[in-house]
Symmetry: D2
Subunit: 350 residues, 4 copies
Amino acid sequence: MATDNLSAVLYGINDLRLEQAPLPGEPGPNEVILESHTVGICGSDIHFLTEGRIGPFVLKDPIILGHESAATVVKVGPGVNNFKPGDRVAVEPQIPCRVCDPCKYGRYNMCPDTKFFATPPYNGSLTRYYAHAADFCFKLPDHVSYEEAALMEPLAVAIQASRRADIKIGDSVLIVGAGPIGMASVLVAKAFGASKVLVTDINARRVEDAQKLGAEFSYVLPRGADAEESANKINELMGGAPDVTLECTGAGPAVSLAIYAAKMGGVVCLVGMGSVPATVPLTYAITKELTLQTSLRYANCYPLALSLIADGKVDPKPMITHRFPLEKALDAFECVKRGDGVKVMIKCKE
Amino acid sequence: MATDNLSAVLYGINDLRLEQAPLPGEPGPNEVILESHTVGICGSDIHFLTEGRIGPFVLKDPIILGHESAATVVKVGPGVNNFKPGDRVAVEPQIPCRVCDPCKYGRYNMCPDTKFFATPPYNGSLTRYYAHAADFCFKLPDHVSYEEAALMEPLAVAIQASRRADIKIGDSVLIVGAGPIGMASVLVAKAFGASKVLVTDINARRVEDAQKLGAEFSYVLPRGADAEESANKINELMGGAPDVTLECTGAGPAVSLAIYAAKMGGVVCLVGMGSVPATVPLTYAITKELTLQTSLRYANCYPLALSLIADGKVDPKPMITHRFPLEKALDAFECVKRGDGVKVMIKCKE
Amino acid sequence: MATDNLSAVLYGINDLRLEQAPLPGEPGPNEVILESHTVGICGSDIHFLTEGRIGPFVLKDPIILGHESAATVVKVGPGVNNFKPGDRVAVEPQIPCRVCDPCKYGRYNMCPDTKFFATPPYNGSLTRYYAHAADFCFKLPDHVSYEEAALMEPLAVAIQASRRADIKIGDSVLIVGAGPIGMASVLVAKAFGASKVLVTDINARRVEDAQKLGAEFSYVLPRGADAEESANKINELMGGAPDVTLECTGAGPAVSLAIYAAKMGGVVCLVGMGSVPATVPLTYAITKELTLQTSLRYANCYPLALSLIADGKVDPKPMITHRFPLEKALDAFECVKRGDGVKVMIKCKE
Amino acid sequence: MATDNLSAVLYGINDLRLEQAPLPGEPGPNEVILESHTVGICGSDIHFLTEGRIGPFVLKDPIILGHESAATVVKVGPGVNNFKPGDRVAVEPQIPCRVCDPCKYGRYNMCPDTKFFATPPYNGSLTRYYAHAADFCFKLPDHVSYEEAALMEPLAVAIQASRRADIKIGDSVLIVGAGPIGMASVLVAKAFGASKVLVTDINARRVEDAQKLGAEFSYVLPRGADAEESANKINELMGGAPDVTLECTGAGPAVSLAIYAAKMGGVVCLVGMGSVPATVPLTYAITKELTLQTSLRYANCYPLALSLIADGKVDPKPMITHRFPLEKALDAFECVKRGDGVKVMIKCKE
């Protein structure tokens, strides 16, 4: 372990600095020390950068950003038998408390005390070295790359949503929103056995990119379009109303579209978070006895994300559009802020 | 079977007439002829009376009102072996098509072709005699009265909602709205094993009546109160956030209250239908990974409704506040329109 | 509709005759008249042929055999709007009563009064013409052949089992028995997203055939092998204990193998029926908190079977080894009795 | 904390000794030191006493017996905020590893590394003082006694079984076996809303005792009776086949009885463990498409057990037949070995 621990530290709104952070100490029981390799930039990183907060999570003291993480094990703590130095791993970016009710019920994504990477006051992985719980590291087979491992994070979001929405083989699936989560959802919905997928967004280029990942249909939403009319057009294109809709934008009109489009007895799963109260046709949802599911981060999704990549059932690599070394992390964030590309990767190790 | 078939026929908005309707013919296979005994008035009857429609269901030709029904078998069709003339029955007020996908999947409440009583163009049970499918009649034990049988309809609505919301033993349950469905929900939630129930409404008298049915807690909502503040007060009263909320009003602020009050990972089931789009804090629902369930009428709920009454697990009789003979059906409807009482019963047989 | 109605009629044990049967009359409501095209022979046909009974179903009067059916619509009854003469269909070989509890709950495969093809006293489809319920016919897209349609029956059995066993994406699946149902199960388990499938049988040729359908692993069981030892070998081959096992033989030692092999908390689904009580290590099942699921025929599985074939997700055609014209149906049955080939098809129309 | 730590230590088959054991050290994080108050004797304690093993768990070094435990908090470790010295608690007798897959999925009863009380090599609670994880202690309301708290253990077993069997309100439930687990199952099945419960056993006195706890029906099994005949008699008594059966004996003929008695589509949950392979009519289970569920210990069941007692929904106290001070623990074990009474309590604190 070198002594360099260059890190991307967020001090305040639009105040991101590259600087040396303290190196992690010796690993404790069930702990490993990781050398960070590849970290993807996520929309939530940008939110913290530009607004200093997301909902109740407010930046008070500086934190290291980054949570879509791939790394190499450099040290293992006492009792850690399934890892050895040199192992390449995908890193699930959280350590739940393990003792609260949700943790014991298996829904640790709802743990109120979970230490989630790059969410104040916890540090993320845009650094050289950090410590982590061994059971939240997942060993990569040789044929899975660090970049694929970093992309397991948005895949895990889509897997959680697909599980919450109970996508079953043969289902038709509508995906509203063609950002990174919408794109990951296209990949995952197909892998879950969706018979047909339609992806929609107001951004034509995004829709095109997302469809290339495997969606049978696409529809570019006209700005300001009536939600019910758009739903009808989507139903026509799909040859029927979708069994499941994954709503990946959080925008009120998008949720309305999802409700109007849904099949009798169908499921609409809300994945994307908007910032304000949404005005939506709930009565319409009741007349179709819909299930409006919601999905928050992920629990127990990394093993499947890894298996899907390792078995070749999903290929998320086309989502990557840019790469920067850690030393140019500030440029990487500027790139994402400008809306260039889809998924920007920062290489913490050359 | 007498020749009198006095019926309460709705001709148009606020145009309800008492007149003779055609008698039913001979019963076909799986059919029985019923002599109507007791019929409760439901809010949806009033909607058709005062507005001529509910959502897509528009009154075009006159229909007989009434769907909360108890009756006596007078004739049985060929192949009907489990009923004989004189049997007292509760009547599930629908005949689904039996061949569509939802019918075959067991969710016949979503059958697009179901013949639902008193929903245009189908007649209801405010009459002397009518035909019905034998398998939607449920034989009453001697100790269950016709009035209890008629009350099985709102109980079935509450059972469907409690099943959709998956109320489990030990759950804490919030019931928003203390009208007849809210009251039935108090009874059913307790029967489903709820450890504590809080009922809330803006109407203090209704809250009081509903609490008497078995709720441990109640809260009278101040008109115009902030939804989040009310939620906090309710959580304080309950000693924690509810596992399940049954929203029985359909009002936007009530749905918001339900979302604010809910426990991490909890369920909010929308039962009450409002008339306009609702503005609700969906982002908040996502941060708690709630399930926003909806519930539409009922399927396969009458057997449990009967068993709950027969076993003494629920006693819906206190909901009854008024009784009128069929000849005074117009007075009965006026009584409900004035908001007097809770559940008004019309006796089709003296 | 011609006047020829040549049919394969079973009169008694090993007494199958080719003879003219009465032509169907005019179709009633929700009914169609079908011209039989292709019918696969199933093990249960052979059971009736050689033993005159299966469990409680005893041949008393002659019946027409055959239930894996593809046909062409020749007439439609009143109210049948989704079919017209000339439509090519897969035929789900049953008409449940539609009024009993299981029918109304959506589990019509448990209907005690279902009219199941070629199960005494009901006729099957080894004939020229027969009547059927329109909603149990499924229109074939042009690119799906009659033979694929006939193979939807064993696929439906495997789909019901896979649903009952709740096979989820990423699961490892063990399939015990490599007869037609085991083979269909390999296809369906892979389509349901199984990450790896191992198929085992005592017959090496069958194991080889089944593996070719898409199983990653196979194991030929030594005759008389110890169930626990075999389970250990299978677990080694699979790189771990299976999440789900589909037991397609009904033999006691095979069920024991399934229980020994299963993962902690896993599912063993019993599909194959044996003839005698089985001696199995139930205590072992409890110490792993297994779910021993069972699966009976199918309900609501034909739509998915069709979708899987139409979308190219399963290709059951390699299961077909022999074809005979209806005129040579007796030869076809001899062929199956000899154990030649896998799936034998009878062409009712040249 | 006194210096006396008298404990009931098992040295080998029928070699139980009362002797001083080491006192626990200072509590670590999330740890409490407990003063043992009341401990019930369970069948598994007797198995270890008389056979030195249960399945794979073999006594090698001496262990302290006892796992049905109620205690008083005497010290709390760092970070334990919800307990203080003097708190009265029910003690869930296990500490799972918290990092394996089952732990993270919420099924920690399947954790291969769980430290379960009085299961080699882990000590139990028949002692004066011991350390435990704070989150596996449950604070008692003032009106819940230590004895009721100790009885939460068999209730937790019955709750796990009732959840695995998915007992729903209105279900009819058959309970096979009237030992302590069968008795707890009667209490819990009624609390879960069972409309009628029948309890059966070959021991007439036990059947009588169990029925008094709330079963509507009972049946004393004749020794050596035919399982199918007994099932028919039970179905007659219950007025139909049970929706759910909890099999609490582990005996092969009892499992057969459960399968014969079950309703089409019903559930049989295996709770009791037998010692040898069982011969059971699995084909019969398939023809009814039963679910043969199994249940192992418990996970997340103590909170409900406490709530059921605190709310007065179950009263397990009538199960207690004998009480002994810790100093007479050897007599207490002799009492259970003789088969006297039902539940014997040892008071670790006078």
